[in-house]
């Protein structure tokens, strides 16, 4: 499931005493404060993966060390694509989310249509479509086209998270702001959005991890990311099993690393509440 289960407004009123939170389980399980054991799944997976990689590279440098030497620029491209698309998706998502709650029928309709169309098409198909469609219209470098394609897709999902976050803010807050003499725009900027950010943060982190993993799809667009580099190595040396073992482990390490960072960030954010 990509979309967070969003408490609807009526339910919100009932549970007004509780802080709203959006729970999605798309990333890796991160040890929480209550789960202080040394052997959590996260620790075993993370350190296990690193240890396995080091062991393989040390005991069988050919091909494992050669693979590791071949892929670093691919990791860099994976990061570039991920970070570029998450930032662009955030911008698109913010506008889409605002559009989805807008009163203006045209803006609301346009944002809803965008979300509906994008969510109805598989990411892989979209990537192909946007990449080669963009090529016909404007000349942009390949990595930028990949970023745009990923961002257009993830923007729709991000938009739904922003909308859910905005709608999770109790109506009383808006009424209070309006009664203080703020207009709707001021209410949104100074009252609703700052509170929504905290609610949006956890699912945003999840989207980041999901996007990091999905960025492997851009390898079909001939973007030289981590997976592509691995495939290039395997296609020349015929070491398919060995190469994909390394690629899988590297992805696992990166994903777990970022899951942990996001987990820490979420913990900090919830302390401030």
């Amino acid at each position: 499931m990509r979309l967070p289960a969003v408490p609807c407004r009526d339910k919100m009123k009932e549970e007004n005493s509780k802080q709203p939170s959006l729970d999605v389980g798309d990333g890796a399980a991160i040890p929480t404060r209550s789960d202080r054991g040394l052997f959590t799944a996260w620790r075993i997976a993370f350190f296990g993966a690193i240890a396995t990689l080091i062991y393989l590279a040390a005991t069988r440098p050919d091909p494992y060390l050669n693979i590791l030497k071949f892929i670093p620029d691919g990791i860099l491209v994976t990061f570039k694509v991920t970070i570029g698309s998450i930032l662009l998706a955030l911008v698109i998502g913010l506008f889409t989310g605002l559009g989805r709650v807008a009163r203006n029928k045209f803006i609301n309709g346009a944002a809803s249509l965008y979300v509906e169309v994008i969510r109805g098409i598989p990411l892989l198909v979209q990537l192909f479509y946007i990449y080669y469609a963009l090529g016909r219209i404007i000349h942009v470098p390949d990595i930028l086209s990949a970023i745009i394609a990923m961002a257009v897709c993830y923007g729709a999902y991000m938009g739904e998270i922003v909308r859910a976050g905005i709608q999770s803010i109790p109506n009383g807050q808006i009424e209070a702001a309006l009664s203080l003499g703020m207009n709707r725009r001021q209410t949104m900027i100074h009252v609703v959005l700052p509170q929504a950010v905290k609610v949006i943060l956890p699912p945003f982190g999840n989207e980041f991890i999901a996007l990091l993993k999905d960025s492997s799809l851009v390898s079909i667009l001939a973007v030289a990311d981590l997976l592509r580099r691995g495939r290039e190595f395997a296609s020349e040396s015929f070491t398919y099993f060995e190469t994909y073992t390394v690629i899988a482990l590297v992805y696992l390490i990166i994903t777990l690393f970022f899951s942990k960072i996001i987990g820490i960030m979420e913990e900090r954010a919830s302390v401030n509440r």
Binding site: Y132, G135, H139, P141, D142, A222, F238, Y240
Partner: protein, 252 residues
């Protein structure tokens, strides 16, 4: 439940009969060889409007099969991983414009060469002063992943290789202006640069082929029986000059 059990028992009996029957008559019956091909490499192997796999290689192998007396089942397989599939026994052989190289020979066995071709460079028509790959230093040049074309681009220092899953995607990317050259087998280059309506006006072929390569049928290491079978057929096809007819039919 009972009916199901009965059915299962019946099916097991049937399959047993089939297995024993199969082994008993294998020597007499016509042998079936499963061949993997990446049908995205026109005019050597491609999928036509009727979803059939056609092309020079396909006609050639059909003739080989007829001469050597076996049957072929084609399996359309993506190029990236086609060798891995052979190693794990998903099919018996690869006929997909596979160049016989020393690296591949280390891992797999090949039949005798059945056609000689070479790599050639295709560039946009605007690149008038490009005479060879070396003139594209600092530029991106595309090729299909794991092909000899890609290996050739990699050899030239300063030229950035961009690998594609299918050669058609490389040509489309060149039409979009993202890369400045594509290296592939000469027949395929000719198909895209000279015959395809939408690319004819945009691309041109640079000079002549700059490598000498031969296609062979790729089989698992040590599969002598199959290699000999293909060699027998290829010899007969060449003797009867069927290959020259096919050349006229599919190649310029």
């Amino acid at each position: 439940m009972k009916v199901r059990r009965l059915m299962a028992a019946l099916m097991m009996c049937a399959s047993l009969v089939m297995v024993t029957h199969g082994t008993a008559s294998a020597a007499k019956a016509v042998k079936t060889v499963t061949i993997a091909t990446d049908a995205t490499w026109p005019p050597m192997e491609m999928v036509d409007a009727g979803k059939n796999i056609v092309g020079f290689d396909i006609d050639y192998m059909n003739a080989v099969a007829k001469e050597a007396g076996f049957k072929i089942v084609y399996k359309n397989t993506a190029w990236d991983g086609i060798f891995a599939g052979l190693a794990s026994g998903n099919y018996d052989a690869i006929v997909s414009s596979v160049t016989i190289t020393d690296e591949r020979k280390k891992q797999y066995d090949f039949s005798d060469p059945y056609i000689n071709i070479g790599q050639i460079l295709v560039v946009p028509k605007t690149q008038k002063n490009v005479k060879s790959l070396a003139d594209l230093k600092g530029r991106k040049v595309g090729a299909q992943i794991g092909t000899t074309g890609a290996f050739e681009v990699k050899k030239v220092a300063g030229v950035e290789l961009k690998t594609y899953d299918e050669v058609g995607l490389a040509f489309e990317d060149m039409a979009a202006g993202r890369i400045f050259g594509v290296v592939c087998d000469e027949p395929t280059a000719a198909h895209y640069a000279l015959q395809k309506q939408e690319y004819k006006a945009k691309f041109m072929i640079v000079g002549k082929t700059f490598t000498q390569e031969s296609y062979g049928v790729c089989v698992q290491k040590g599969n002598k029986e199959l290699t000999e079978l293909f060699n027998k057929g290829i010899k007969a096809v060449k003797a009867k000059k069927i290959d020259e007819k096919l050349r006229k039919k599919w190649l310029r």
